[in-house]
Symmetry: C2
């Protein structure tokens, strides 16, 4: 019997819904004996450039809804949340993520699991190379190496390719799951992710 492929979990570092999903998805997958594969995507490219939409918080009516929705979902998920005023750039975080991912996916996931609460639980910056290097250092990655990688053209290209690949797979939101071929969008669809894990079909 071959092991089933990992559940694919796409997220943007600036997405509070991605943060909420990130806090649950590994535990949910593990309950069904499944691994997860985390991949950063970028709403700024997908939603604005490819889909031609606006940033969520700048969209009339929906922006207000999201500001109300995120805190209540965080309570529901039992996850700490500090609402942020300004949306940071996810570039440094996403570049460092893929740089580590090529070396060790588990390490990249750990970095994401540090950066997400840094931004959304403590309200601290994640956009500066320094802040990303600081979190990587806590995982044993020398600070100077991370800072050098963030300047590396190959690392920038790696992120670019990953974002293009996510778009080619139809990923347009954060969080976005692909479970045995089924695309599932949104942290309010964890019930559907679970149904897929449990029953193997929708």
């Amino acid at each position: 019997m071959t092991a089933k492929p990992p559940l694919e979990f796409y997220f943007d570092f600036i997405s509070p819904f991605g943060y909420l999903a990130a806090s649950k998805i590994d535990e949910l997958a593990a309950r069904y004996g499944r691994e997860t594969r985390w991949q950063a995507m970028m709403l700024g490219i997908t939603v604005m450039k490819v889909m031609g939409l606006k940033p969520l918080l700048d969209t009339p009516l929906k922006g207000d809804y999201v500001r109300h929705d995120v805190p209540r979902l965080a309570r529901h998920f039992g996850v700490p949340l500090k609402m942020i005023d300004e949306v940071p750039s996810p570039l440094a975080a996403a570049r460092a993520f893929y740089w580590l991912d090529d070396r060790d996916p588990a390490l990249a996931k750990k970095l994401a699991q540090r950066l997400y609460p840094r931004l959304f639980a403590r309200g601290e910056d994640i956009s500066s190379p320094d802040s990303v290097a600081e979190e990587a250092q806590e995982l044993g990655v020398p600070r100077t190496e991370t800072l050098a990688a963030l300047q590396d053209e190959k690392v920038k290209q790696r992120l670019h390719q990953a974002v293009e690949a996510s778009i080619a797979r139809g990923v347009f939101g954060s969080p976005f799951f692909i479970v045995d071929g089924e695309p599932i969008w949104g942290c309010d669809r964890l019930w559907m992710v679970e149904k897929m894990l449990q029953e193997g079909r929708l």
Copy 2:
């Protein structure tokens, strides 16, 4: 002890997600001893004019997702579905809805409960005044009265006011629920509607 106010259910006649929610919401509310108040909204005005977005099916990536998502949700909900190729105009349906609503909200709801499966279970037109009058006639409303009402400037204004009122309340999608003040968007959030009904808070 005063009875609790009805659960408010907003929907657009052209929305398959609204159709799916419409098939469940009264039963869900009744389980908690609650009534529902149905109100038509118009995505064409709210989403395109107020929010500045595109029609869902014309949005890159998301359009394909929705085409895949609606049938699987219909299976999940156990509701018959016939995918439609062209999105009809909801104007006649929505005007007739509010015309009846002012006379008898229960009758307006019954009309919606006939028009939704006409479009989404049988794939038949709901955009012509004739088709709307036909369904109203099955509820005992003389065909000529419905056809006259659909030409009435006051009826057109009534819909216009209702749509403006929905926007003023922050309603931006279909389905959209307001449960004791809590706004809840999407037929994938029925779990949240139920939590609100059960616990009185989120």
